[in-house]
């Protein structure tokens, strides 16, 4: 009973004269936890941008819930959330305001307005920031004043607060120490919150370089030069596969 949530059909992406993604076919089923492996510059970030609709592929079609991406309405598109490799937080807003930006989709304009005026409720934002082990002294600090690891977790909190079904995470463990990596990994992939107040995204695709974390994933995709080299169950992954892409 595999129901496909995201699908790429023969996707190519050309930037100037470089073929960055080359005829990619990919199906992501509901509930899957996928690790995306590949060298730097292999096209992971570009693939994620195509999956979330930010980049329009030069060729091929992206389907979300079996519908072409362009035909979807805002609410359906907001079922995807992204943790960007370069975070893409708004530097001049505070950490909590940035996290609250994740709530834009489920709220109206008035909420966005109150958030910017700093008079909205930050209850939910604080909850997620706490889950990401952010200390409450940084809640109202501007992003530009935070350390790399703190920024990283603000970006993660902004993504998790959306409580979307599908999570796309681009090297989310950058800048984090080993203990935090475990915490964040659990947050992204499992229900770890004891009170069960939070649901982890059902489906997750995580680009990463840490091979020791692969055990928590069901599937592994290897990408090299914009081409998918393998797409396997984790149990079937052999050393020789990894040698091909690195």
């Amino acid at each position: 009973m595999n129901n496909t949530v995201l699908e790429l059909e023969n996707i190519s992406y050309k930037y100037k004269n470089d073929l960055i993604l080359n005829k990619i076919n990919l199906k992501i089923n509901s509930g899957e936890k996928i690790a995306l492996l590949g060298k730097s510059g292999s096209g992971k970030t570009t693939l994620i941008s195509v999956l979330n609709g930010t980049i329009k592929p030069t060729q091929g079609e992206v389907k979300l819930f079996n519908q072409s991406f362009e035909e979807l309405d805002r609410k359906q598109k907001s079922k995807i959330t992204t943790i960007w490799q370069d975070l893409r937080l708004i530097e001049d807003l505070s950490a909590e305001q940035n996290v609250n930006c994740g709530l834009l989709a489920e709220n109206n304009f008035y909420f966005a307005f109150k958030n910017l005026l700093n008079i909205s409720s930050f209850k939910k934002a604080h909850k997620y920031m706490k889950l990401c082990r952010l200390h409450n002294s940084i809640y109202d600090k501007k992003i530009r004043k935070l350390s790399g690891g703190q920024k990283q977790r603000v970006a993660i909190a902004r993504s998790l607060i959306q409580e979307s079904n599908i999570l796309l995470a681009d090297e989310p463990f950058n800048n984090l120490d080993p203990k935090l990596i475990t915490t964040i990994k659990n947050l992204l992939l499992e229900n770890v919150d004891k009170n069960k107040t939070k649901k982890s995204p059902k489906t997750a695709l995580v680009a990463l370089h840490r091979l020791d974390l692969l055990n928590d994933f069901d599937k592994v995709i290897g990408i090299r030069d914009g081409k998918i080299f393998f797409n396997l169950k984790r149990n079937n992954l052999k050393k020789i596969h990894l040698e091909k892409i690195y």
């Binding site: 941008s49 979330n52 609709g53 930010t54 805002r74 609410k75 598109k77 907001s78 995807i80 959330t81 992204t82 960007w84 370069d86 893409r88 937080l89 708004i90 001049d92 807003l93 930006c101 994740g102 834009l104 989709a105 709220n107 109206n108 304009f109 909420f111 966005a112 307005f113 958030n115 910017l116 005026l117 700093n118 008079i119 109202d140 959306q162």
Partner: protein
Amino acid sequence: MNKLKLNYTSLSFLPILVCIPLGYQLINNIHFGGFKLFQEFLISSFNPKIDNEIIITVIKRLNETILIGFFSWLVSIIFGAFFGIISSNIFYKIFNIPNFFYRIVRFFLTIIRSIHEVVWGILLMQIYGINFSIGIIAICIPYIAVNSKVFAEQLETIDYKNFESINQINGPKFSSLLTLIWNPIIYTFKNFGLYRLECSIRSTVILGLFGIGGIGTSIFLSFQTLNFRELWTYLWSLAILIILSGLIFKKIKFNTTNKILSIFFISIFFITILFSFLYFLYFIFNNNFENFNSASSLFKSSSDFRLFDFLKLTLETIILSLLSTGIAISLPPLVIGIFNNNTSKIFIKIFAFLLRLIPTPVILLTLLTFNNPSVSLAALTLGLHNAGITSKLLFTNLDSQDKRNYIAMKSLGISKKTSWLLGLFSHQAKSYLAYCAYRSDIIIRETAIVGVIGSVGLGWQLQESLSSFAWQEVTLVLIAYSCIAIVGELINGKIKNSLT
């Protein structure tokens, strides 16, 4: 061998060469008939008239000026932000509107901006008659367009990646837009918007000279009756007003995290929009279009209007802009460099302040007391006034600059002037020139003011055509003005890009 190398420093001094043709024409035109008047004008500056009667007039007139200036500032900032948003890329990206409309809006604003508020004022006065509210509207029209450009420029600094990430959250489009533009808008308001209040007060004064009301009208009347002591009372009180308005805004620290203050500003924002809209409607429906109604005047033939004259006046306007820009660029660094000691600095600062304070028409009228009207005289006026403005910027930048190079060079025994030039000014030259490029956009527009008063260029033609209700000519003059300003803006834009 000391060769003249073409770098930013020398480029800042070269334009002073305009003084050669300028000086030649001025000397040829000199007459000493009004020299005594000029002397009296200068002496009166130390001896302004002060009595109960004039103080009451001053307060009343200043009130009018503040009212017009403040209100037009508020309206033009708010609507400027609005038009800035709809003429910025980010708006079209978020709403997926074709780029075609972006171009149209920008083009429309460029045209509106290219015409000086005095021209708008004269035009509206001719149509609606002299009226208090004309001042506000005349200032608001070009100011909204100018402000919108600054807001739009700041909005272009929004990181495209931030746009992508907020867009990907898929909130309502207006929410995404507001979240992205919030900081650039606040930043522009703090750094540019507050400074515009001073500009708005100055414009009110200039329009006052043309009869709109406020202190400007008093200045003009006292000048006309050669009542120089009264004139200086008005000028000094205007100086106090401008200094105070600057100080007040420097003291206020806008804290956007302060909730009460935020709500206060938001309410002002909405009240202003509502009020100005109602006011606009009221204005449109309650004013009879006195002169404009006579349709015949629209088609009035203009037999005395010749193409050759028109081209000549256009050329005159261009020359006027070039000459004044030359003075505005080169005079400040030259004077500051030559008289480089603390006492002279104070004198230069005071002189520059006076040049900024005294409205250009008054400077021009004063100079006219001993010189016949000519392009050079108008250029000198406009150049001096703007040199007052560029020198203020130069002083501020020089004062805040790291002086270690300069001190090191001086202690090495290099002469004071050379060390100033190489140790201080050369680091500023590039940004100074970039600012001057921006300033020359304004100078081109201001040629209208001195044109009307000093009978040169298109400004003079505008006055002539308006007073004979030759609307075709007026349209032609306005188009010519627009073209000059737009071409100038394009050239200056290129220069600015190569400097930054």
